[in-house]
Each structure stands twice: as C-alpha cells, then as structure tokens.
Amino acid sequence: MSETIDKQEALEKFATFINPQRVRVMKAAGLDIIEAERSGAWVWDADGTRYLDCFTSAGSFNVGRRNPRVVAAAHAAIDRLDNGNFLLCSQPKAELAERLAALTPGSLSCTMFGTGGGEANDFAIKLARGSTRRLRIVSTVNGYHGHTGFALSAGGRASFRAPFEPLMPEFVQVPFGDLEALEEVLDERTAAVLLEPIQGEGGIVPAPPGYLRGVRAACDQVGALLILDEIQTGLGRTGRWWACEHEGVEPDVMTTAKSLGGSLVPISATVFTEELREFLIPSPFIHLSTFGGSDLACAVALEVLAVIEQTGLVEHAAAMGERLFAGLDRIAAAHPDVITEVRGRGLMAGIQYSEDSLGPRMSYHLARQGVLAIYSGNQPAVMRLMPSLVIEEDDVDFLLGALERAIADLLAGAGPEERGPSRPRRRPTRATAS
C-alpha cells in the first residue's frame, strides 16, 4: 500500500458521519478492521494484521480480492469506456448476456442487468408477475433476497420487514425444505416461488435432497415460475457453476450478483427464458437501471467469468471444499458441546454452534486468530465460512488450525479485556460488598 491509513481517524470519521453504533458493535466484537491491502483470499487491517477472509462480503470475492486478471481488465475498460448510456444498446452488455446464456442451465438465455442482488430479485419478481399476470410470490422462512422493495417483501426475516410495513401484498412464506408446506400454498394464483438452493443468511441450510426437484414439479403443476436466487451460491461457490446443478433442476429465472463484479464493480443479472422475455417485447423499457450492467461493470464481469472458467475455479472449489469439510467434521466431533453440526457444499460452509451467543463470540475469537468470519444474519448460532475460491490447501489448514485455537480460547473463557468507565463508579459503595 502506498497510502497510509490512520485507522483510528477512519473509525472516528465513520462513527461521526455514518453510524457510531456500527463502530461500537464492531469494536466490541474485535472486528473493527479497516481494510487496507487486499489480495487473493487475504485482507490486511490498516494496523498490519492479516486475516484470511472467510466472509468475503457474503460471497462476493469468488475470484479472490483484486484478482490480477480482473484488475487488468478493469484498468483496460477504464481506459476506453465509462458507464455508458443506459438507454442505448451496448456491446459489453450484449457480450456478457451471451456468456451468461451459455453458462446458466437449461433454456435460460435472456438477461436483465442491475447493480445488486436486491435489484436482480426485484426484477425477477416483476417479471414473474408481469408474465403470469398473477400476484402471489411464495418464498421461504429465513430466506434472504435483499433489502429493496419486492425483495424485502420476500425476505424471511421479520425484523428487517417490520419497521417498513405494509410492504407488497400477496407475499407468502413457507418453511424452507418442507415440500408439503409449499404445495399447500401453491395454486393458480401463484406467480412464482423464490428461494435459494442453499439458504445463506438463513444459516447455510442446503435444500434437502429432492426438494428442489419437488419444488420444480409443484410449480409446473400450477403454472407458477421457479426463481432461484443463486447470488451467494452461484459462480462456482458450491463446486458447480450453479448450486441447482447438483440437483439437475432448471429454474425459469435465476439471479446472480456479488462475485459477478469480481470484488471491483457492482453488477447483478436476472437471467430468464426466451418465453418469459415475451413480456418485455412490447415494453422494452419497462425496467430501467442507470448503472445496472454499466459498460465498465460488464467488461469486468466478462473477465470474472473467463477467470472462473479458464483457471478451473469451480473444480478447485469442490476440492478445497472437501478438505475443508473433512477438517470441520473432525473438529466438530472433538467439540460436540460447541459445534452441533457442519453443513453446506463446496466452499459454502456453515458451523452450527450449540447456542446463539457462540456466533458473535466465535467471530471475536476467530478474528484474534487471523480469520475474518461472521455469523449468519438470520441465524446467529451459525458461522458461515465462504472464503474466496482461490483459497489453497495451506489456507484451508490455517483456517482449521485457527478454528481449533479459537475454540480453545472460548472454552478457557477468554474475551476482550474488561475496561470500566473512566468516570467514578455510579453504583453506591455499600452495594458492592457481596
């Protein structure tokens, strides 16, 4: 890094001009990291401490942080492009849409671009309602699809929705993995079922075997669309290009984002069938996004896809995932009082702790051991491990060693140094005697 960052100044400015409670929470959790150098699977705090990044902005850095090929492509794009006029037809958009059509399963062949996952899911829902002329959207409890309008309405975490209700009508949630519950609410009024093949924020919960196929069949029976949110699970994360390929299921609509931007640019894509595109033929400007699929972002995303394909990252993720899960299973077996289950696929792993407070506490202890890992938003008892797919065997072993040391610290009752207030104690002196 040529630029020196004053960490304390950065934290103080963040507290003053963004949110003091975020700084307080992150400090308390030992995660008051100001990212400085970033490279591959690692990130350096401004104070020089190195961390293996197992959060990766919820799976946004599949090709590694500042992947040299992607950085070079971004430089080249900046030299000749800008965001582009969003109303005009664009060569980078067309190229990227063609690549996505080739890489996504089945008859998915048309794309609408956006800037983030929420926007991608918003458009998927708009497309479902517009195409089917039906209203109902069925999603799953603890599912996560973003914080924008339609996507938030489909979200499975009540605390995210409650302050803003009423949200969009005709959104229904059913337990994830329960096919019977889903079939009970599906009928000819249902526009689409929206779900993740593996719930990410919900605590790294893979769909039970056969569930996705069952959902596909149930949708077909009532003429509802199947929208798969592959924003965290896609682009090689689970050891296949898309997690739905493990089950051989082809959705009508698929959303992808996060890692598509290669850790450098915001971009998302909603990929759908030619049949569904019919809705957009008479209304080609019905969904617009000023920066969605900007020319710059498309150029970067094309290189991201090329890197994943040409460097064998999908197969590599599967191999590293096997090593990771073998180690996690061994550690879990040695500490049944701390870890009750390990689950996931490829490099999308979830550690189920025995109680909720262990998520935040283990985030703290792992950070002390050089691992950046954060518990699931909707399930604090679950630690998610989603390192970059460029992670190597030594990195996996480092992670496993750090986890063992973190558990030892946890069991020893270690924690942050206790500091009382700088002012005199308020509690009356007589009350301190026990």
Binding site: P20, Q21, R24, V25, A28, A29, G30, S159, P163, E355, D356, S357, G359, P360, R361, Y364, G377, P380, L410, G413, A414, G415, P416, E417, E418, R419, G420, P421, S422, R423, R425, R426, R427, P428, A431, T432, S434
Partner: protein, 119 residues
Amino acid sequence: MADWDELTEALADYTVTCNGNERLRKMQRDWSRNLHFVCADNELTFSMDVQRGEIIATPVGHVGVPDIVVTTDSEIFCDMFWGDLNPVQKYLRGEITVQGSQEDVMRLDAISAVIWPDV
C-alpha cells in the same frame, strides 16, 4: 452476591435514567419487549416490561412470555444497571448469556451506548 434490595435500587436508577432520556425514548419508540432476567448465582429472577421504549415495570419473578432472557450473576446485573461495566465485554467472555434475537441484543447495547457513552 447482590440481594434483591440492591437489584431494586439498580433497576430503579436504570429506569429513571432510560425513561428520562428523550433521545433514547425517541430512538426506541417502536421497541416493545418483555425481558426476563435470571441471576445465576442466587437464582433471583425479575422482569422488565418495555412499551414503546418506556420501561413500564420491573417486577420480581418472571411475568409473561419473554422476548429476551438475560442470565448472569447478580453483581454483574447491578454494575450493568448502574452503568459501571460494558455488558458486551461480559457477553463476549460468556459471562452474560442472552436468549433472543440478535437485533434485540444489539438494541440493548445501543441503549447502554446512549445513556452511558463513556462505558
């Protein structure tokens, strides 16, 4: 080990401090929760009824269905309600356990941050 009188005094001070803080009341106006507390060392229990950010009552025993259950030693509760310790540090050391949503846990910390920014 603190007795019920000491806890009552601490709770009373905490209630006055919270309810008298206009910024906090405004910030918490959409927060209504029933909190249960368990003293792990002497088995004392008490509750806190919060309605739209106002502490309505802090009765002895467990009243109603809890949204949050906080467990720790009675001395820690007293120090916590008097604002003499940072509960997050105790939480991360495993000395305070909280059953409930993570949002509520963070909100409890936010309350402390507002009324005792120096802790």
